[in-house]
């Protein structure tokens, strides 16, 4: 019974400080949207407002066209799973999952039978009789997911559900969530501060910056066509070339760089993902910029190469064993298709 979730003009302040300044967000029925933002920007507050655990100063939330304003949390059909798996310690694993069914008035036998199905769905059918305290962190979070699904929610709200888990377990949980989505296709609103997690789990990602949705788009579009310099930086973008747009080209200290699509004339910052920037030899005619390697930082198998150019420090990612030595003069290629211009933020 997944339903479209629609959040309109949601505002919430705490003691004079505005935390959410008009949030608009739509999660299509059966879709998964990740709400991505730095810590302390009110991502969890959005979930609490949707779940009815907190009251907005303005704005409204609808699920499947039903206005949820003023409804008590238990009448909204918005099950919440938090970062800590809050299983009831006095109930067995099976009775934890059966809890939403029991409070809905189902008979104990029927509730347990249905709960067993949900427990199987998360692959923990064998642990039905165990106490929550005897489970591992990953197992506990699986049970918490099964319990939330047992409530048959219109919208499933996940608040950093996997951030406290070990990386290996987290990857496992990502696969599980993907499986659950294809099995029961709930509508999911996922809050996370982890860009990789957002990219791995969600259909689209909404970036929450300064109390507003700065951009809501597909993952790739967020990276290659950010709506603002803030979004580009928040997503880890390191290549910024200040300049101005003239006649379909960006003019800066690097010279005139042709743009793949029209951009409004005037001041603008050229951004390219460092992953897309090519490293070539200094004399290569294809090079858009030339400079000395200032720093090489390993990033797993790849390395991040910082190059000091006429337009400031730019960056490129080099494959395994391909990073040039520090001090070497190299050329950088900013591929035309990857170029994108964002507005120059106001000074200060």
């Amino acid at each position: 019974m997944s339903a479209e979730l629609r959040v309109e003009g949601l505002r919430r302040g705490f003691g004079g400080a505005v935390v959410l300044d008009g949030i608009d967000l739509t999660v299509p029925a059966g879709g998964c949207v990740a709400l991505l933002g730095p810590s302390g920007t009110g991502k969890s507050t959005v979930l609490r407002l949707v779940a009815g655990l907190d009251t907005p100063d303005a704005g409204r939330v609808t699920a499947g066209g039903r206005d949820l304003s003023g409804l008590a949390p238990e009448r909204r059909g918005t099950a919440l799973v938090g970062q800590r798996p809050r299983l009831f310690p006095h109930l067995s694993v099976l009775d934890n999952v059966a809890f939403p069914l029991a409070v809905a008035g189902r008979r104990r036998g029927a509730a347990r039978a249905e709960a067993a199905g949900h427990l199987d769905l998360v692959g923990l059918g064998d642990l039905a009789r165990r106490r929550p305290a005897t489970l591992s962190g990953g197992q506990e979070q699986r049970v918490a997911l099964a319990r939330a699904l047992a409530a048959n929610p219109a919208v499933l709200l996940l608040d950093e559900p996997f951030s406290a888990l070990d990386p290996g377990v987290r990857a496992e949980m990502h696969r599980l969530l993907a499986d659950l989505r294809s099995a029961v296709s709930p509508t999911v609103l996922l809050v996370t501060h982890d860009r990789q997690e957002a990219a791995a789990l969600a259909d689209t990602v909404a970036v929450l910056l300064d109390g507003r949705i700065a951009q809501h788009d597909a993952v790739e579009a967020l990276h290659t066509r950010p709506a603002s310099l803030a979004v580009h930086r928040f997503l880890g973008g390191l290549v910024e070339v200040p300049g101005r747009v003239e006649d379909g080209a960006h003019v800066s200290a690097l010279g005139r760089l042709v743009l793949p699509c029209p951009a409004p004339a005037g001041p603008g910052v050229l951004v390219v993902r460092q992953e897309a920037v090519g490293l070539v030899t200094a004399g290569d005619p294809a090079a858009d910029a030339t400079g000395a390697v200032g720093r090489v930082a390993p990033r797993g198998a790849r390395s991040l190469v910082e190059v000091t150019t006429a337009a400031g420090t730019l960056a490129a990612e080099a494959g395994p064993g391909l990073a040039p030595p520090v001090g070497a003069t190299v050329g950088l290629v900013l591929p035309v298709a990857q170029r994108w211009v964002v507005a120059q933020p106001a000074a200060g």
Partner: protein, 264 residues
């Protein structure tokens, strides 16, 4: 190394636990012996005549009705002081309380002020208002028990995760279902401990019962006091004292078991 450490620690703990148990148990040994002695003349190490005279005399002196009154008194005090302590503890732990220090001091005051000092004045008041002695006694003892229940419940609420109840709400549980299926089960061990302490306040009180009841309300401690000062018959005193020890001991075990179940 890590496999050896717990075993070694256990080996170090055992003698200390044994010592502690002995500390509690040793005073009970003469009591047990006296309760089973018909005669115990001075130089003998063990009673010279075994028998149940002490118990029969205790029954004759009204030990059973006194036991009943003490149980009722303890239960009534627990029934009043536990919910009061839960509410105050919850407020102190989870909410903003105006003049918090003053409130905390007031809640602790009954421990600091000797109860008979308060009771002397209250008795006259209770007599004038024609409040039955039993009811007055329960109320006064409940007030002396509140500091203990507040202390226990406050600690319990400080460690209580409100998020647990919030998630239960989002899973479809209304306030009533959350109270019955989540809140009370989670706090059951603490509530049991608080109730146990409050029960003990009523169970073991002597002074307040004497003053408010005017000597007509005979509870178990009153009986022990009367018998030990009057007869000099150690067997009957031992029998009544044992009766006074066993119920709290049984409750203590029950509370501990409940707390362990809650911790798992």
């Amino acid at each position: 190394m890590s496999r050896v450490a717990p075993a070694r620690r256990r080996a170090g703990v055992a003698p200390r636990v044994a010592l502690l148990l002995a500390w509690f148990a040793v005073p009970l040994v003469p009591l047990l012996l006296w309760a089973a002695a018909d005669r115990w003349s001075y130089p003998a190490v063990l009673p010279t005549d075994w028998g149940t005279t002490g118990w029969r005399q205790a029954l004759d002196q009204g030990a059973l009705p006194a036991l009943g009154r003490s149980v009722l008194l303890g239960l009534a005090v627990a029934a009043l002081a536990t919910p009061a302590g839960a509410m105050a503890g919850r407020a102190l732990a989870l909410h903003r309380v105006p003049a918090r220090r003053v409130v905390e001091a007031l809640l602790l005051a009954p421990v600091a002020v000797p109860p008979f000092a308060v009771v002397m004045g209250l008795t006259t008041l209770a007599l004038r208002l024609a409040i039955p002695a039993g009811a007055g006694l329960v109320v006064v003892l409940a007030v002396s028990a509140v500091p203990y229940t507040v202390f226990v419940m406050r600690a319990a609420y400080a460690g209580h995760d409100v998020g647990m109840e919030e998630e239960a709400r989002t899973l479809g549980a209304g306030p009533r279902a959350v109270l019955l299926r989540v809140h009370l089960p989670l706090l059951a061990p603490a509530l049991a401990t608080a109730a146990f302490l409050a029960f003990l306040v009523g169970w073991s009180d002597y002074v307040v019962t004497l003053v408010v009841g005017g000597g007509r309300l005979v509870t178990l401690p009153m009986l022990v006091g009367a018998l030990s000062s009057a007869t000099g018959n150690d067997a009957v005193v031992a029998a009544v004292s044992l009766t006074a020890v066993l119920p709290p001991l049984a409750l203590l075990v029950a509370t501990a078991l409940l707390a362990r179940r809650g911790a798992r």
